[in-house]
């Protein structure tokens, strides 16, 4: 295959909205979904004479994420103006950070589904203000401008071009998102635009040192779209090069409906952003004490938690990763295990059974009526042979529906496992008598025969019989015959 001759170089730029109450430089609300232009002040409109003042919380949130992705925090930082004319930018410049960013030189270690591990270096993470929103669609004779989003704090996280495959990009984004969500300073919703990603990608012949010409992909609305668009670009660029052409440096838009990237036509001159230090904001120094303080506020992050789960609960790496990728799931899991459930069983029951039911009902763990203690109880009832697995699976949906404890349900419905040997002996005799054919088969050495008899026992007891005892009883009775 031709593509074996090439290797891919990918870098990602992620913008994360920080969940402050007010905007980065003024007191407008950051709430999503308000009437156009109502979440604004003279500052977010960039009205003449208005001046920015930095929201301290945004800076702290930025530092927390930067710490979470192992960045160094600048001792001193400043803001700069980045200029371009577009109606979404009310001042015709964006307050961003150029040469003294908030943080730099971080990394995330990611593992793909196929167990491909890589350290993704992060070049920098800096603060900047969001732009407004343009609507080109609803009117034929003009575009509509809404500045509610203008000035919402963003952290831009830029990787080094370390990623080599779309799968790595996907894994990086997944871990980045879960890390930020753990910290709790952004909801990272791609649908609402609180997490946005642009990708840079180029290919080069294997062994070549210098980078190939890159394209930038925009309009990526999900992690899957990121991965697919990258694969599309790899194929496209490979084809271009193979056919003797050269890749053009350009911005391309991902068209999700057509599953392809298309050139973003633009008559803009080559960008010249004319960065210079923002004279309306003073520099900031961040003391090491402050950094330590913020570090202490960080929760255990997904990567560390995954390692701990493997060690502490003897889970497989894959199971641990699945559990920790969502903080609430992992929290739930830990409470469940700490209240007595077997760690492996808890992992299975939580991720397959309970989440399965919730997914089908389109519900989330957050509002789930089944407390982790109650799931733990259910699992312990199995361990203590009060109920068997089959009954447990029957009970769980009812727990989800009603929120009742498994004990109550079992009691109410008389579902306790029947372990009364006398009762079961009686029943075994009856069943053996009623199925002479099976007895014969058993004597002939047909192993299946006993399974049939066990099934009959379970049927008679409506599944409540303790399968281990039943098995034992039948074995004993048959061999005595």
């Amino acid at each position: 295959m031709a593509s074996d001759k090439y290797e891919t170089v990918i870098g990602l730029e992620v913008h994360v909205q920080l969940q402050t109450e007010s905007k980065l430089f003024c007191s407008s609300s950051t709430q999503f979904g308000a009437e156009p232009n109502t979440q604004t002040t003279e500052v977010s409109f960039g009205l003449p004479g208005s001046l920015p003042v930095l929201n301290e919380k945004a800076l702290e949130y930025g530092i927390q994420i930067a710490l979470g992705i192992n960045c160094k925090i600048a001792e001193r930082l400043k803001f700069d103006r980045k200029h371009y004319f577009y109606p979404d930018l009310p001042k015709a410049y964006q307050i961003s950070q150029f040469d003294m960013p908030l943080s730099y030189e971080g990394y995330l270690d990611v593992t793909t589904k196929d167990n491909d591990s890589i350290r993704v270096r992060i070049n920098r993470a800096h603060l900047e203000e969001d732009a407004g929103k343009l609507d080109h669609e609803s009117h034929s004779d003009g575009s509509l401008v809404d500045y509610n989003r203008a000035g919402i704090p963003l952290l831009e996280i830029v990787t080094e071009p370390d990623l080599k495959t779309p799968e790595q990009a996907y894994a990086y984004l997944t871990l980045l998102k879960s890390t930020i969500k753990y910290i709790g300073v952004s909801d990272c919703s791609m649908e609402q635009g609180s997490l946005r990603c642009d990708a840079n990608i180029s290919i080069r012949p294997k062994g070549q040192k210098e980078l190939g010409t890159k394209t930038e992909i925009k309009n990526l609305n999900s992690f899957k779209a990121v991965a697919r668009s990258l694969q599309y670009e790899i194929d496209r660029q490979t084809q271009v090069v193979e056919s003797g052409d050269r890749v053009v440096q350009e911005t391309r838009l991902w068209n999700d409906a057509k599953q392809k990237t298309v050139t973003m036509r633009s008559k803009e001159e080559a960008h010249d952003y004319r960065f210079f230090p923002e004279p309306d904001l003073v520099p900031f120094t961040i003391s090491r004490e402050k950094v330590e303080e913020l570090k202490k506020l960080l929760p255990e992050l997904p990567q560390a938690r995954e390692h701990r789960f493997v060690k502490e609960f003897q889970l497989s790496e894959y199971d641990a990763q699945v559990l920790v990728s969502d903080k609430k799931t992992a929290d739930y899991y830990e409470v469940c295990v700490n209240s007595g459930a077997d760690p492996k069983k808890a992992s299975n029951w939580l991720t397959t059974e309970l989440l399965g039911i919730l997914n089908a009902r389109k519900e989330s763990l957050e509002n789930c009526k089944v407390t982790p203690e109650s799931l733990s109880l259910l699992l312990q009832m199995m361990d203590k042979q009060v109920i068997n697995g089959k009954i447990a699976k029957e009970i769980l949906p009812e727990m989800v529906e009603t929120g009742n404890s498994p004990e109550d349900i079992v009691k109410d419905r008389g579902m306790e496992q029947v372990s009364d040997t006398g009762l079961l002996e009686e029943l075994a005799k009856n069943i053996i008598n009623a199925n002479p054919k099976s007895v014969e088969d058993f004597k002939l050495g047909k192993k299946n025969a006993i399974s049939f008899l066990v099934g009959q026992m379970m049927k008679e007891t409506k599944g409540k019989a303790n399968p281990a005892i039943v098995n034992q009883l039948l074995q004993k009775t048959l061999s005595e015959m």
């Binding site: 003279e42 960039g46 003449p48 001046l51 003042v53 210079f276 004279p279």
Partner: protein, 479 residues
């Protein structure tokens, strides 16, 4: 001859205003005066007519400027009152908020009387670049009032204002004060909030008062100075009562004369007046010595790079999208190009282009960065000087008021006329211009006193002592 109400100073107006009736008398007198003289000097874009009344709902209790009418440069935002920077691009722009200084003045009982003409976006030293009309100098109607706060200075000088606010980026308060024979202060950078001042050069701009005498100036500063949480660059430094130390004498005050300021191009009559003023200070007990500000000759270059760079950025927002003038167009880029081409005057275009160029890729280091480095040297000059002296004395401008159109076609020579005022903005130190005599044509000459950071009090004291000795401001233009 009894004094007319419109001739009053701030101090006199405050004493006069016992009740609402007094204020309305004053307002009426001032309106009539404006009706009479404004057609000649054209200092105002608009003002409160005779029919308007003072909104006396606020009680006088404890308000230091109750019922004092204030004239305000048109680049300072006034809620509900058109604020256009004398530019076509902002015609019809009515700010939804008051600048912090306007708020503070209103809180002390003052009210807005008029909006003053200016060089468009404060780009100029003559008031000729106003998109509306040039303002004229009441001392000679064929001459400019200076700029960019030409309307503010001219209105105070022609007694159609009790007091005016101006803004100063490279001399825009002091040079017109000098040309019009009034007192004008550029405070320390960060002393007065810039919130609501439509920015020209953000790292240089300061709002300051233009007044009939030094005491008035101190009174206004008592109100407008101070930290503003809405302006990150305003300093949280205590504001003294500037009127308290006015009357203290200047015995032992150390005054420096920078040798680099007495150069070719300095009008001999201006030089003589400044030398005489210096001699008077010695008589009053001050100690005068020559000092050096070695990087003075680079100030104009640094200024025109830094100020235009910041201006090109600050003026980028005037694009016709949200407010002000929009040139109708079907295409976005064409709308931008035409709106800015039609909306901006020639001097604005010149400076925006220059500022854009010095920030553009490949030129940033050679111009902008270099200028910011030389700015450091200029600032250090002042730091060194103020180890030896308390006040630096100089002419405010190299000449008295020049004629209309005299320098209009030669931007560089216009820029060079700001040589004495620009260094204070680059360093951020406070400076005041006070009248120090008249030339043979009867035109006022301005004396500049430059002080150390946040030491406006010493400037007021030095200015007051000299003013009370010489009484130059007793003379008024006949208009």
């Amino acid at each position: 001859m009894a004094k007319e109400l419109y001739e009053m100073t701030v101090v006199e107006a405050v004493n006069h205003n016992k009740d609402e009736k007094n204020v309305n008398e004053l307002l009426s007198s001032l309106s009539k005066r404006a009706e009479k003289v404004n057609p000649k000097v054209k200092a105002y874009l608009n003002w409160k007519t005779e029919a308007s009344e003072f909104d006396g709902k606020t009680s006088k209790d404890g308000k230091s400027l109750w019922g004092v009418p204030i004239s305000i440069k048109d680049n300072i935002c006034t809620h509900g009152w058109e604020t256009s920077c004398s530019s076509k691009i902002l015609k019809g722009y009515i700010p939804p908020y008051d600048a912090t200084v306007v708020n503070k003045l209103k809180n002390e009982g003052a009210f807005i009387f008029a909006k003053c003409n200016m060089d468009e976006f404060a780009f100029g030293s003559s008031c000729e670049s106003s998109a509306d009309f040039p303002t004229l100098n009441p001392w000679d109607l064929e001459r400019v009032p200076g700029g960019s706060s030409g309307g503010s200075a001219s209105s105070v000088a022609s007694d159609e204002a009790i007091v005016a606010l101006g803004s100063d980026t490279g001399g825009s308060i002091r040079q017109p004060a000098s040309f019009c024979g009034v007192v004008g202060l550029k405070p320390t950078y960060g002393r007065v909030s810039r919130y609501g001042l439509i920015a020209f050069g953000s790292s240089l701009d300061q709002i300051g008062p233009l007044t009939k005498n030094v005491e008035d100036n101190a009174r206004i500063m008592n109100v407008i100075a101070g930290y503003d949480p809405k302006d990150s660059t305003s300093a949280n430094v205590e504001v003294p009562d500037y009127t308290q130390t006015l009357t203290k004498n200047v015995e032992g005050l150390r005054i420096g004369i920078p040798k680099e300021y007495f150069i070719d191009g300095l009008d001999p009559e201006v030089e003589a007046a400044v030398r005489e003023a210096t001699a008077m200070y010695e008589k009053l007990g001050a100690k005068v010595k020559e000092i050096s500000l070695p990087h003075t000759k680079y100030a104009v270059s640094v200024y025109y790079i830094v100020a235009t760079a910041e201006a090109s950025s600050n003026l980028a927002r005037f694009d016709g999208v949200q407010y002000g003038y929009r040139h109708p167009s079907k295409d976005l880029v064409e709308m931008y190009m035409n709106t800015r081409s039609q909306g901006f005057g020639e001097e604005v275009k010149r400076r925006v282009l220059l500022g854009t160029f010095v920030l553009s890729a490949g030129y940033y280091d050679a111009y902008y960065l270099k200028a910011q480095k030389v700015r450091t040297l200029i600032k250090k000059d002042f730091d060194e000087a103020f180890k030896e002296v308390d006040v630096i004395i100089s002419p405010t401008a190299p000449t008295t008021a020049f004629k209309l159109n005299e320098k209009k076609e030669d931007p560089l020579s216009m820029y060079l006329s700001d040589i004495y005022t620009i260094p204070s903005n680059l360093a951020g130190v406070p400076s005041i211009s006070i009248p120090c005599g008249y030339d043979s044509k009867g035109l006022p000459i301005g004396l500049q006193l430059i002080g150390n950071y946040f030491d406006e009090a010493t400037l007021f004291r030095a200015g007051y002592n000299y003013e009370q000795t010489m009484h130059w401001n007793d003379k008024k233009p006949s208009i």
